[in-house]
Amino acid sequence: MYRIKQLSIFVENKTGQITDVTTILSQNNLSIKSINLIDSNDFGILRVIVDDEQKAKKVLDDAGISLKISDVFAVAIDDHIGSFNEVVTLLSSNNINIKYTYTISNNHNGAFIFKVNPNNFNQVIDILQKNNINILKEI
């Protein structure tokens, strides 16, 4: 519960590498909920959330593309100023280090995605629930 599965897909710094990944995903009828590329000089990591991560892993493995599945959590965006700040302040005041975060938006709602140290995951969920933050079970 509350563990959203994010794929981290290795992409070389070459034209067409992202297309290779997204073509495979769409040909296999996988829906991309979120996609975001981080890059260094010679390679990048494509962070993707899909509707069926196990299937995605299988088809990407078959195509010889390296990836890792990691747990992130999603907090529903409450549409008022400072909503993101509330979550971050809550975590930092409890000494939780945020590894990275990004926002996604779907048809009618949006979410903040967070990655924390896996050892802190359950503690984080506890803290957020106690403070009535709306954590999503799926996106």
Partner: protein
């Protein structure tokens, strides 16, 4: 001009010196090195069986593996208080190949390097800019000592920092350049940026180049870029360092210093000695080494030797430029490295698969080494930082263990070229 009159002695006199020194060396290793004694006993050979120079073919070979197996000082024949200097080259397990010198060995090294400088026309009037790296490598200090021996002024510039080197060469008025051919060409390219008449700022008249295989074309390029005579030097640390031989003004062939080293060309498959003029693997027996005398050391270098006399008057054998390797050794900016050593480093890096490819190419005139390593799900991370650490770990392991700068590039699994299912490990784009 020769430094020592033995360089133009009659061949029978040279051979007389060789035989007496060979006998001493054989006696020395037999009595002082258990490794050689065992080898002799195995084949029933006694030092007194060596009565002529041709008998050398009865002696066992020595290889780099033997040196490694006796790391660090196992083959030394003198106590450490007689060893005044140690040098080393890169090794596989982080353990380098170690060589040692007594005071007498240093004198021999200085002597042969003095001959090299003299062959290049250098005297005590000259200012020598030494762009070979100083340190464990024999290049920097070998040239340094030789220049001091002839009384020249030595500028110990060492490697790198091209602009600063050029400034020193101009301001100090260097007349002799000692550096690798590729670095020398690179310096010329940089110097050219100041204008086509850049040569007016420099006083160079000759250069002594080595540590890298060089084609005639490359030699001509270096020579023209600097407007200087090109002298090629040959050497390897296991024998002494630079100073085994050098080319004179008359030809591209290298005069080798036979009174200190005995030269053979063998068939690297069968080990049979080849006749004069034929190409094969160069085997050298140092004749005067005290700290680390070796018998029939297999250099792995492919060349040929000739007794044909030279116009310069020197009578010692002449060797052609190294034309290749008997093994798969790569030379990257003057540093010798075997693909197996690189593989060892990769294998010892946590989380990395052994699917890799080594790509050597030229960037301008400098060697550039790229190592492509396939990522696996094991090293895949959602953090760029973590993945960059893997890249950095391999790079620093290569630098620390093998002294080579490489750019490690992570690539997709199964993306590296396979030839008939077998991985293509080395792509050397520097070859024509």
């Amino acid at each position: 001009m020769t430094w020592n009159k033995i360089e133009s002695a009659r061949r029978e006199d040279i051979e007389k010196v060789q035989l007496s020194r060979l006998k001493d060396t054989v006696e020395r290793v037999y009595s002082l090195t258990p490794f050689y004694k065992e080898k002799f006993d195995e084949i029933g050979l006694k030092p007194e069986d060596i009565t002529s120079l041709d008998d050398i073919s009865k002696l066992p070979f020595t290889t780099k593996k033997d040196l490694r197996a006796h790391y660090p000082f196992g083959l030394f024949t003198v106590p450490m208080n007689e060893v005044v200097r140690v040098h080393s080259s890169s090794g596989t397990t982080g353990k380098p190949t170690v060589v040692g010198y007594t005071k007498a060995d240093m004198d021999v090294w200085d002597e042969v390097m003095a001959r090299v400088f003299t062959m290049a026309g250098a005297t005590s009037e000259d200012i020598v800019h030494n762009g070979y790296g100083y340190g464990l490598f024999t290049g920097g200090l070998g040239f340094h000592n030789g220049a001091e021996k002839i009384g020249a002024t030595i500028i110990p510039a060492s490697g790198g920092m091209t602009d600063r080197q050029l400034m020193l060469m101009r301001d100090f008025g260097a007349t002799i350049l000692a550096a690798t051919p590729s670095f020398s060409l690179h310096m010329a390219e940089v110097a050219k940026k100041t204008g086509s008449n850049y040569l007016k700022d420099y006083k160079l008249k000759a250069g002594i180049f080595g540590a890298e295989p060089t084609s005639s074309g490359l030699k001509k390029e270096v020579s023209e870029a600097w407007g200087i005579d090109y002298h090629e030097v040959y050497g390897l640390s296991e024998i002494i360092g630079p100073g085994i031989g050098c080319s004179c003004k008359e030809s591209e062939l290298l005069h080798v210093f036979e009174d200190h080293f005995y030269f053979e060309i063998i068939d690297s498959q069968t080990g049979e000695v080849k006749p004069e003029g034929e190409r094969g693997e160069l085997v050298i027996t140092p004749l005067t080494k005290q700290a680390l005398p070796l018998l029939r050391y297999r250099t792995g270098d492919i060349t040929s030797i000739t007794k044909e006399p030279c116009k310069c008057g020197r009578t010692m054998l002449r060797m052609e430029s190294i034309i290749g390797r008997a093994d798969d050794m790569l030379i990257i900016s003057g540093v010798n490295v075997y693909p197996s050593q690189i593989e060892h480093v990769i294998a010892n890096t946590e989380g990395v698969t052994l699917n890799y490819q080594i790509i050597a190419e030229k960037k301008g005139h400098l060697d550039k080494l790229e190592i492509h390593v396939e990522v696996s799900d094991d090293i895949m991370s959602d953090s760029l930082g973590e993945m960059a650490i893997i890249k950095k770990n391999i790079q620093s392991a290569l630098l620390n263990n093998l002294y080579i700068n490489a750019n490690v590039i992570l690539v997709q699994p199964r993306s590296l070229a396979r030839s008939e299912g077998k991985a293509v490990r080395i792509i050397d784009k520097r070859k024509d």
